[in-house]
């Protein structure tokens, strides 16, 4: 038996042979898994199938060529790709109809698609983390990594996907524990905001920052000079320069991230109105309200976020006797929001921001530019969504929907037999108004049966209104 070490060329040959064989086997498995999930599972919409197809087609084409034309130097890259792509199957698997609040998925996806100019598809799936988030975009990510492989047949890949050039797939996650709590799912509006805000960030943030950079830098420099970090006096200038550079980088990150989150909040409330604010208030109540962005991965303090949202919703919080607003069904919700306004009169969050030069500069930048940015971003929305959703313009209809919930009937249509299905925004606004009414009338309201009944009625309302809308599109004249 020969026990001498393999020569370099022999080792390379062994390595390539085994690697190629194993990668082929993995790709074959991946393609089959992606195919199986399409055959065996039911989904509330077709989007999870699109992602499964994307994974399956990618794996299939890599498999087809790995034994023949893929050069050995690309094998490691293919291995890395498999590592990236395989976990994406979990987004498909978790979007199975039984795992999701399926009644609301179709109408929510349609609204989110519409808001993002109809070119984006959304997988909506639960996650065990208590968080709402958006992941993607998948198609461009795959295109980018595959285009690094010169031999990969990108045209064949595109043809098999049956996706138009500018179509994209995102995955929105929601906390599994809140699956049926459709009232909280208005947070999806914030998540779709990330798509629009990212476009703005890519197009405008750099320029905007550059025009403000000199001023911010001089103020930070001044601050650093007054608080020189300890060190050898010989290197004082160097230490100052380094500290300034670090703080500038941190300031820009805090400004960018803070602006993104605040703009996404604005988009959420633009699409869903007060219910987005109500969901944010309930979500915020779980956390401390005044944590500095520097201690929370650059997220703005909750109290700051709520203050911004409340400012945007101000037209809905004022009484208007001429139109009888707010009426009895909505008053409790409005009163709750007014409590929120009082909550934001405390300014501990701002004191925390002001106490540090990084956050102070970042949030000065944010407050100077957020309105202009929000205007640009809302102009990206389709014309039907150009105006913000305002409760005071819908309160008569919302009232009818609240009255249906109170009677134990789903809030799916405005006026019975009117052939007028309620919009998702109206349904969720009514659900929030009902909930706040119940709590106002009976502070101990909210046992599991009461919540369960509310969620069931609202989910059924979403399902019925969606099916009725689809029916109307296909049978316009009856």
């Amino acid at each position: 038996m020969n026990s001498s070490p393999l020569s370099r060329p022999d080792e390379a040959s062994w390595h390539e042979k085994v690697r190629r064989r194993e990668l082929f086997r993995c790709l074959d498995n991946l393609a089959r898994l992606a195919n199986n999930v399409q055959i065996t599972e039911d989904f509330a919409s077709k989007t999870p199938l699109k992602l499964a197809t994307l994974i399956g087609v990618t794996a299939e084409l890599l498999k087809k060529h790995i034994l023949t034309i893929a050069p050995s130097q690309d094998l490691e890259q293919i291995n890395t790709m498999i590592g990236f792509i395989t976990p994406h199957l979990r987004y498909v698997e978790r979007a199975r109809v039984a795992q999701t609040p399926w009644s609301i998925i179709q109408s929510a996806e349609e609204l989110l698609r519409f808001a993002s100019n109809s070119k984006s598809y959304f997988i909506i799936r639960p996650t065990w983390a208590y968080n709402y988030s958006i992941i993607g975009e998948f198609v461009s990510f795959y295109r980018e990594i595959l285009s690094c492989l010169a031999w990969f047949p990108l045209d064949e890949w595109k043809a098999k996907l049956e996706l138009n050039n500018d179509e994209s797939i995102y995955c929105i996650s929601f906390p599994r524990i809140e699956r049926d709590n459709c009232l909280l799912h208005v947070n999806w509006g914030h998540e779709v905001g990330h798509i629009l805000v990212e476009r703005w960030i890519n197009d405008y943030f750099g320029t905007l920052w550059a025009t403000n950079e000199a001023g911010i830098k001089s103020r930070i420099e001044e601050h650093v000079k007054q608080n020189i970090p300890p060190g050898d006096p010989l290197f004082k200038e160097l230490v100052i320069q380094e500290a300034v550079a670090n703080q500038m980088r941190s300031t820009m990150e805090a400004a960018r991230h803070g602006l993104v989150e605040l703009l996404c909040d604005r988009i959420g409330v633009h699409i869903f109105g007060l219910s987005a604010l109500a969901a944010s208030m309930e979500f915020a109540a779980r956390f401390a309200l005044d944590v500095s962005p520097l201690q929370s991965s650059n997220y703005p303090p909750w109290r700051y976020r709520l203050r911004m949202l409340l400012q945007h919703c101000a037209p809905d919080l004022n009484d208007n006797k001429e139109i009888g607003y707010p009426n009895a069904d909505i008053r409790a919700l409005i009163e709750w929001m007014r409590t929120g306004q009082r909550l934001t009169q405390t300014r501990i969050d701002i004191q925390n921001i002001e106490s540090n030069v990084i956050t102070r500069e970042a949030y000065n930048f944010i407050s100077s530019h957020i309105d202009g940015a929000a205007q640009t971003i809302t102009s990206m929305l389709p014309i039907e969504l150009a105006r913000p959703y305002r409760l005071h313009e819908r309160h008569v209809f919302i009232s009818q929907l609240v009255s249906r919930i109170r009677k134990g009937v789903p809030p799916n249509e405005i006026c019975h037999l009117s052939d007028n299905p309620a919009s998702l925004q109206d349904i969720l606004s009514a659900a929030w108004a009902f909930k706040m009414n119940e709590i106002a009338e009976n502070p101990s309201w909210g046992n599991p049966n009461e919540y369960d009944l509310l969620f069931r009625l609202v989910l059924k309302g979403c399902e019925c209104s969606y099916v009725q809308s689809e029916w109307k599109k296909r049978h316009p004249i009856e």
Binding site: D42, S45, P410, H416, R456, E470
Partner: protein, 201 residues
């Protein structure tokens, strides 16, 4: 008791006080001369026959748990359910009902489906004041599998006046409260369940 005709049905549907609510009625043609067509919902409860050879609802030692032998299936709108001969599945109406205090209703199959072997409901009486979707017990007594699609008109409701009108109908601890899908059996919640299921206690 008298059966509500089309005009009567429309009157019950349109009156402001304690109306009959059937929502949504996708097409006015669902209202027939003396009945109202309802559509198939997309939630089903099917038997897991591969798991159990026997189920004893009144088994002395075992807890009553129909989920052991049945499971919920959701078929998205646009999908289909194939009902094989001899198979029973629980389904529900797509429409949500709120019955007034002066109407009761019988759920009947549609003759077009019956001719293909589909039985729609056996426990087919809906009390005044009921709210929710109606659970249907679909079984194929024919010889060929039937493909069912959520949204099709599957059954009809025949409504009859209830005299005298109930003032607080269907309140209190009802077993099936505002269901939005077919419900698992709750036999064990019957008031006399323990008397016969466990006579030694």
């Amino acid at each position: 008791m008298s059966t509500a005709t089309k005009k009567g049905l429309e009157k019950y549907l349109k009156r402001t006080s304690d109306p009959l609510i059937v929502t949504p009625i996708l097409s006015p043609r669902q209202i027939g001369e003396a009945s109202l067509d309802v559509r198939l919902g997309n939630q089903f409860i099917v038997f897991r026959t591969y798991k159990f050879g026997i189920f004893e609802p009144m088994g002395v030692s075992a807890k009553f748990e129909p989920r052991k032998i049945q499971e919920r299936q959701i078929i998205p709108f646009g999908g289909q359910l194939v009902l094989h001969p001899g198979v029973l599945v629980l389904a529900c109406t797509f429409e949500y009902l709120s019955m007034p205090g002066d109407l009761e209703c019988q759920v009947e199959g549609r003759s077009s489906w019956a001719r293909l072997g589909l039985q729609v409901a056996t426990a087919n009486s809906i009390e005044p004041g009921f709210k929710g979707v109606i659970t249907l017990e679909l079984s194929n007594v024919g010889t060929v599998p039937l493909t069912l699609v959520p949204g099709i008109r599957i059954a009809q409701l025949v409504l009859r006046t209830a005299v005298p009108k109930l003032k607080n109908p269907y309140l209190g601890n009802r077993k099936y409260r505002c269901p939005i899908g077919p419900e698992f059996s709750r036999l064990h919640e019957d008031y006399d369940w323990n008397i016969f299921s466990n006579p030694t206690q």
